[in-house]
Amino acid sequence: MPPLRDEPRPIFDWLFAVAVLAVAATYVRAIYFTPLEAAQGPAQKILYVHATAAFVGLYLCFGLVAVASLLYLWLKDEKLDRAAAAAAEVGVVFTTVVLCTGPLWGKPIWGAWWTWDARLTLTLFLWFVGVGYIILRGAVEEPQMRARFSAVLGILAALLVPFIHLSVYLFRTLHPMPILLKPSAPSMPGEMQLTFFMAFVAFTLLFAAFLRARYRLAVRADLLAAREEGLL
């Protein structure tokens, strides 16, 4: 029977502390030390949270889910399953932030909380798939079956993305085009760019901290399950 103590219990999560400080510093800089955007006013500041959360949630987290899922079916390593599960949960958290901050900005700027724009719709559907993924994991008890099922869903979800994007793009699109990551020079003053960069670093740190915490939890949950299995 493996003792639960072989995974040291983190008393102080330094990574999480650094990430929280970085996020707080980004907020302070974004609110007090970054100039107001001429046309949008203070509403534009939500962009520092919104766009970075979208980057972390949609690209880092769901990208990691897809890669880890594919590798799991190949290598059958439970570490990959735990990484996919952790990334999916963190991804849903960040995507929820995106879906909450988006309407807050959309109401004053677009005049509507929600529009059926390509990016909005894709984000919403990825959120649905992410929630479905978490519910699926909760509904299967046997660990190997749970890992295989969620890996299959993770891969299919990655295949779904271009199709939803194409169909909603054909429908209509309204979302602002990328301002920073575009082929020509970024059309944003240097001070805003720096705040943006800070936000990216802070949110990526927060992502790493969440992911690590969630991964450790999965390790302990598996150990506990194995232990209970042994006792039964």
Binding site: L136, V140, L156
Partner: protein, 235 residues
């Protein structure tokens, strides 16, 4: 040919798939439980949807494509739920897995059975919508039937795979819609858009970009789900 030779002959991929589809359809034909409830559900939904809109404000020809394809997904879910639940009784799936057929054949057979089922329901839903919503079907129904088959291939590919997974979970039928519905978006949207253009008598050039998405979805997910299916079974 001696009798034992027939028993030992290992059927090919498609032949085995046809056998499994025929088995599922034979069960359905004898019990008629799912097809009748799915048909009743479809007709009820067609009628109820009509009262959800103000018929004087929205022309029924604008409502019909959406109604038709939304009902298509929900009645499809009824068929898909049944697909693997059928194999749970007396652990029939174990016998199927022990039989000398490839797992890919099991998937294709199940999907083919579901395809026939879903197309049958849609073959009743289209005239029902045409009747209740007063649609001009003359001349467009062959295209509509072809569209139904194209949409159904995508629907049952994803749906059959998720059905196999969902029956093995604690939530069973509740889980299937949650997993499958987001995947039905690139099926329902093109199907509804093409239907709207067909009914309005627009040129096919306008429908082509949508059809391309639907056909690509069919191809990608039929292949991906066939390859993924063995991973959803016990090792």
């Amino acid at each position: 040919m001696p009798a034992d030779a027939v028993v030992r002959a290992r059927p090919g991929l498609l032949r085995a798939a046809l056998l499994i589809a025929a088995k599922d359809l034979a069960i359905e034909l004898r019990t008629r439980s799912a097809i009748l409830s799915a048909l009743a559900f479809t007709l009820l939904a067609v009628v109820i949807f009509f009262f959800a809109w103000d018929a004087t404000a929205v022309a029924s020809i604008d409502l019909a494509p959406g109604v038709l394809w939304v009902i298509f997904t929900f009645s499809g879910l009824l068929a898909l739920n049944r697909s693997f639940a059928l194999e749970q009784n007396d652990r029939a799936l174990d016998a199927l897995l022990a039989s000398p057929v490839d797992r890919e054949s099991i998937f294709l057979g199940k999907a083919l059975g579901n395809l026939v089922f879903v197309c049958l329901i849609q073959a009743c839903a289209i005239p029902a919508v045409a009747l209740f919503y007063n649609l001009p079907l003359t001349g467009v129904w062959p295209a509509l039937l072809a569209l139904t088959v194209a949409a159904a291939v995508g629907l049952v590919s994803v749906g059959t795979l998720f059905s196999a997974m969902a029956t093995n979970t604690r939530m069973a039928e509740l889980l299937l819609p949650m997993l499958a519905l987001p995947f039905f978006v690139p099926v329902v949207m093109p199907a509804a858009q093409v239907t709207a253009r067909l009914l309005a008598g627009r040129p096919m050039d306008e429908a082509w970009p949508w059809l391309r998405i639907l056909l690509a979805f069919d191809l990608v997910f039929l292949v991906a789900c066939t390859l993924a299916f063995p991973y959803t079974l016990e090792d």
